[in-house]
């Protein structure tokens, strides 16, 4: 095909993204919080582990893993945090409030799995 048929309004730039630069998840994705038990410092509360929810928003910019930051590691691979919505009925089997009541919580990318 001739170049003119593929003319775009701005020049396309081909960039190879570094590992972790692109968010793995996007708003609306169904996710599950991983289940693992780090010894010592963690920032993912135990009450959400293994629970299922939805990505409400990708938080920008990328940032360091706050669990590693606790050990004084301020540098390192930056990844995204995500604002996750989890219904309270998913967290608590006997939840008696509205079925629409929910938790909003920021979770680092390495703690999320596609559901």
């Amino acid at each position: 095909m001739p170049q003119t048929a593929r003319r775009k309004t701005k020049p396309s730039i081909h960039v190879v993204h570094a590992i972790g630069e692109e968010p793995i998840f996007k708003a609306g994705d169904s996710v599950r919080i991983s289940v693992r038990y780090p010894v010592g410092h963690y920032r993912v509360p135990t009450y959400i582990r293994g629970k299922r929810g939805r990505v409400e928003a990708v938080i920008e910019p990328r940032a360091v893993n706050n669990e590693e930051e606790g050990f004084g590691r301020n540098a390192g691979l930056k990844r995204h945090y995500y604002r996750i919505a989890i219904p309270l009925t998913e967290l608590w089997p006997k939840y008696s409030g509205s079925p629409y009541d929910g938790l909003r919580i920021e979770v680092f990318e390495t703690w999320l799995e596609r559901n």
């Binding site: 509360p45 706050n66 945090y81 939840y95 409030g97 509205s98 009541d101 929910g102 920021e106 979770v107």
Partner: protein
């Protein structure tokens, strides 16, 4: 009295009337003095930081809320990027903190908590109340928010969605309470006076104007 203590001119009685400093107060003073002696921190830095901290009170949050209530474009900017909107009003933040303002509406009621520690929007509201940092609130907010709200006198109808926001990373939150009824002619200042710290945590609504004010 610690020799290095700047108490902003409190009238002090004689030293022997002061209770002795606690073990932990002695520890704090000692750590601070050693760090200054070793030039790890500057001699004036703590005092300056105290001034910064003292300047952060719920009045700042109330001002932001009142402005959002009267100015829809400011409100839109506030909800899109809390930090830059606050910077418009001269309120700055530390480091990488991001600030998300959560709007309460007819359909949604937001509540703030930190179950892992005590994250709180200190740059806007100052230091949090003790109860926010203690077990009952932090344990129950994510599990039974309606009962907790009711304990504070706040009843949320069943058809309103409650969102409990648990801070775990660099996002700090503040609730933008609903504007109370009967305030159509209020000035920004009058509106701000209705907004309490607890309303910006989301545990209560903003105050309604009392009858006395309405008759002005």
């Amino acid at each position: 009295m610690q020799p290095h203590d700047d108490d902003h001119g409190h009238a002090k009685t004689t030293v022997q009337d002061d209770p002795p400093p606690s073990y932990y107060e002695v520890m704090e003073t000692s750590v601070r003095e050693l760090l200054v002696e070793k030039e790890v921190i500057g001699a004036d830095e703590i005092r300056h930081m105290l001034e910064v901290m003292d300047s952060r009170t719920p009045a700042l949050g109330a001002k932001i809320v009142a402005r959002a209530w009267v100015d829809p474009e400011f409100k839109a900017r506030l909800l899109a990027n809390g930090r830059t909107a606050c910077e418009e009003l001269g309120i700055d933040f530390f480091e990488d903190t991001q600030f998300l303002v959560l709007e309460n509406t007819e359909k949604v009621h937001n509540l703030l908590v930190c179950t892992l520690c005590s994250c709180y929007p200190r740059e806007i509201l100052g230091l949090p109340p003790d109860w926010y940092k203690q077990k009952p609130y932090r344990a129950r907010a994510v599990k039974e928010p309606r009962a907790l709200l009711a304990e504070f006198g706040t009843v949320i109808p069943d058809d309103v969605e409650i969102r409990v926001n648990d801070s775990t990373a660099m996002l700090r939150y503040m609730v933008l309470p609903q504007r109370p009824e009967g305030t159509e002619n209020f000035t920004e200042e009058q509106l701000a006076s209705l907004v309490t710290r607890d309303a910006m945590i989301g545990i209560v609504r903003a105050n309604t104007p009392n009858r006395k004010e309405q008759s002005r």
